[in-house]
């Protein structure tokens, strides 16, 4: 048992931390968030040069061949800096699903392009009726000529507007809730019949509802074995969930630090408000939540590649419950202890709170994972 980063992981952590502290200030976040695109290609190139886009790509495809612990080491800083570029969507989730399908030449080629940041890909999987139930797929693929035609609707696809390629799950057979019968397709952004309705999310990221209307693809557009993509998709989502937990913990720590600083400097009744025991206890509760969440972010990183699917799901659901509940408490209390200032757009506090709120809702909220955990353990 050992919860220390290796030297290499610590180095990665420190370099990402330093780079983002210097290069991705709150002002930069605000500037990028205010643009129509909502992300910045120069910032993306910077992240590519830093090397973090290839972390999850195997070395034979041009990546660094690292895994969840290295992802853990870098995601906290990404959260704290409120990085708007698709690190999670493309460099974590898309690379994970492509790595699992890399026996396909198309997947292998794309993986190589993702490793260096030349291309961006995002997984377009969840649907409006699924409520984050990963098996729920109603988008249809049918064979036509030598290729496929896709129809369907994917909901709230994070960073879809930034993607060169969408990795779209569609059902070739079976009913909406079945894991069998799902294939995965690479759909270039400019494919006729692919329509994106792009919008900001509550935390100033960008997402889109993706509509597929008679989208024609060649046979090589299919990345998975026919009808057999679910295991790869679920594995990628689990790796993404672990990364999301790490990102959330980074934000929680930042909010705790900012709140401690605030209550030490804010004077009311002739003293810093941090002298009041009621607020000291609140801070102590926040800290307990942060540490519990950190523990579970470690569990998630250590178990997100577990081959026993039941054990993996248990660990990840437990992690999401704790991280989600902690995110809620720490976010709400950070705003509360900042008083009116915590409600303003001007302070980064409200932006961290919003990113945590979004994190709690993504990949299934605490309730959804509490119920899944109960079902797995009864």
């Amino acid at each position: 048992m050992n919860f220390e980063f290796s030297d290499e992981q610590q180095q990665l952590h420190d370099s990402v931390d330093r780079y983002l502290s210097e290069q991705y200030s709150f002002d930069r976040f605000r500037t990028i968030a205010a643009t129509a695109a909502g992300w910045d290609r120069a910032a993306w190139s910077g992240l590519a040069e830093l090397g973090i886009l290839g972390i999850n790509v195997p070395t034979e495809y041009g990546g660094l061949g690292f895994g969840p612990l290295e992802t853990l080491a870098m995601m906290g800083a990404c959260g704290r800096s409120l990085v708007l570029e698709p690190v999670m969507s493309s460099a974590v989730i898309a690379t994970a699903v492509l790595s699992a399908l890399a026996s396909s030449q198309a997947a292998a080629d794309l993986l190589g392009q993702l490793a260096g940041g030349e291309k961006i890909a995002v997984l377009a999987h969840f649907e409006s009726g699924s409520r984050f139930d990963a098996q729920w797929v109603t988008a249809r693929a049918r064979r036509s000529g030598g290729g496929y035609v896709l129809d369907g609707h994917k909901a709230v696809v994070m960073h879809a507007n930034a993607a060169d390629v969408l990795l779209v799950s569609a059902r070739i057979a079976g009913e909406p809730h079945e894991s069998a019968g799902i294939s995965l397709f690479a759909v270039p952004r400019d494919t006729p019949g692919l329509l994106l309705d792009v919008y900001p999310t509550i935390d100033d990221q960008r997402a889109a509802d993706v509509y597929l209307k008679g989208v024609e693809l060649p046979a090589a557009g299919r990345l998975s074995a026919e009808g057999a993509a679910f295991a790869a998709i679920e594995a990628a989502l689990d790796i993404g969930l672990a990364a999301l937990c790490a990102e959330a913990v980074g934000i929680m720590q930042a909010l705790l630090d900012a709140t401690v600083q605030y209550v030490q400097s804010r004077q009311q009744f002739g003293q810093p408000i941090g002298r009041f025991q009621a607020l000291q206890h609140r801070i102590a509760d926040m800290l307990i939540h942060v540490e519990q969440a950190r523990s579970m972010s470690y569990l998630a990183a250590l178990r997100c590649r577990e081959e026993n699917v039941v054990e993996r799901r248990k660990a990840l659901s437990a992690a999401k419950v704790v991280v989600g509940q902690s995110a809620r408490y720490v976010g709400q209390q950070a705003v509360q202890l900042h008083g009116g200032m915590g409600m303003t757009d001007e302070l980064i506090v409200s932006h961290w709170f919003k990113r945590l709120t979004a994190a709690e809702l993504m990949f299934g909220d605490s309730d959804a994972h509490l119920q899944r955990y109960a079902a797995l353990t009864r």
Binding site: S128, A155, A207, D209, Q268, F269, G340, M343, F353, D365
Partner: protein
């Protein structure tokens, strides 16, 4: 002991209902029931309609042009108004400065200001908090120095709600910095058109503009606009804060929002079934509904104990804490009810009449677009009007005597 209202009170409720049926414009109630923002004109129109019915000065005695309702009648009126989708009354005129003017203003001030508050012709806002004086309001620094028959005001107020619409502001200013904090404060009424006033918007985390900073630079205020005596403003301010706390529990609004939450949970699907059938989500709704029921009865106990017209005592802090916690919880559950569609945020979707591009489907159900923003915005409830932490101090000091 009985739970039912008296026959007279029930008849009064019917009277309020029929007024709301006849006079509340559907264009306004639809906005309220769907959670959209109201314009200044919406608020002013509703105040005028109430005034025409003789209800413009809702909590006021008859001698000042009010309907002379007791606190139970006010409660019934606010509950029915909320359920029908009437705008929340902007409190700064009718509920805050007006009672101060009635109790401590002179006859000239009463004649000058009260009728236009009742009719909605003049919009009031509040100049209390300052950057360095929030929970510790008595440490305020905005100064007023006497120059003949005017005060010259310099300083900064903040967290001023809807001051961008206001014609007048009531302010606490320091007139004696040598006295102990509470003893050097004066209560002034200031025309917002006075030279030297600058209103700067504060953008909140949901992108909305509902609060402002207000700067005063050599603003000249006639002495005749002072309420009561110089340096006695703290007494009037405390009196005002007592009135701010009538209807502080927000029972009617919470009931309305709970109905909306249930409607959303019936409409949303989880694994093909209505979300409201999900045992965990249903239990969350039941819990908040039970909490609200308990608070309603607590509120009625407070009202029953003071069936006169006096302002509520420190027990209002119980109502404020639980009322805001319940409102926040309802907004949180509504956000969670829509799953991934809580994430899209289109500021323009908070305005009534907004339509998504008709060539595409809206991202998620129409009602989803404002739920997360509402949740974020409602975090203010436990901060403003005296933070919930300050309310707990009041309970432990004033009720318990610790």
């Amino acid at each position: 002991m009985r739970l039912e209202f008296t026959e007279e009170e029930q008849a009064f409720r019917e009277e309020v209902r029929s007024f709301l049926r006849e006079r509340l414009p559907p264009a306004i109630s639809q906005k309220v029931l769907n959670g959209y923002e109201l314009s200044r004109e919406d608020h002013v129109l509703w105040q005028r309609l109430l005034h025409e019915r003789g209800w413009g000065g809702m909590g006021w005695p008859v001698q000042f042009g009010g309907p002379g309702w007791n606190s139970v009648q006010q409660y019934i009126f606010e509950e029915e108004s909320a359920l029908a989708g009437a705008p929340r009354l902007i409190p700064f005129g009718t509920k805050m400065v007006a009672p101060v003017i009635m109790a401590f203003g002179n006859a000239a001030q009463q004649q000058r200001f009260l009728p236009k508050i009742s009719s909605g012709e003049e919009w009031w806002c509040q100049g209390y908090s300052e950057p360095g004086a929030g929970s510790d309001l008595a440490s305020l620094k905005t100064r007023a120095t006497r120059d003949g028959d005017v005060y010259v005001v310099n300083g900064q107020k903040t967290w001023n709600t809807l001051g961008q619409y206001a014609d007048w502001i009531f302010c606490l200013v320091r007139t004696d910095s040598t006295a102990k904090q509470q003893s050097g404060i004066t209560f002034l009424l200031i025309d917002m058109k006075s030279p030297g006033i600058t209103v700067r918007p504060i953008t909140l985390l949901d992108g909305g503009h509902e609060v402002n900073e207000i700067w005063f630079e050599n603003v000249r205020v006639p002495v005749q606009n002072r309420i009561g005596d110089e340096n006695k403003g703290w007494t009037y301010a405390k009196f005002l804060l007592g009135h701010e706390r009538t209807n502080i529990a927000g029972i009617g609004i919470a009931k309305r929002e709970l109905q909306r939450l249930k409607a959303i949970a019936r409409s949303e699907r989880k694994a093909g079934r209505p979300l409201i059938e999900d045992p965990l989500f249903a239990a969350h709704i039941a819990q908040v509904e039970i909490d609200l029921w308990a608070l309603e009865i607590t509120n009625l106990r407070v009202l029953s104990a003071e069936r006169g017209a006096k302002a509520p005592g420190p027990e209002a802090s119980i109502l404020k804490i639980r009322g805001t916690e319940i409102a926040q919880r309802i907004s949180e559950l509504a956000m969670r009810a829509v799953g991934p569609y809580a994430l899209p945020f289109r500021r323009e979707a908070m305005e009534a009449g907004w339509q998504a591009d008709p060539a595409r489907e809206a991202p998620g159900p129409r009602y989803a677009s404002i739920l997360a923003a509402t949740y974020l915005n409602q975090r203010k409830l436990s901060i403003f009007g005296g933070t919930n932490e300050i309310q707990k101090n009041i309970i432990s000091k004033m009720i318990v005597g610790l």
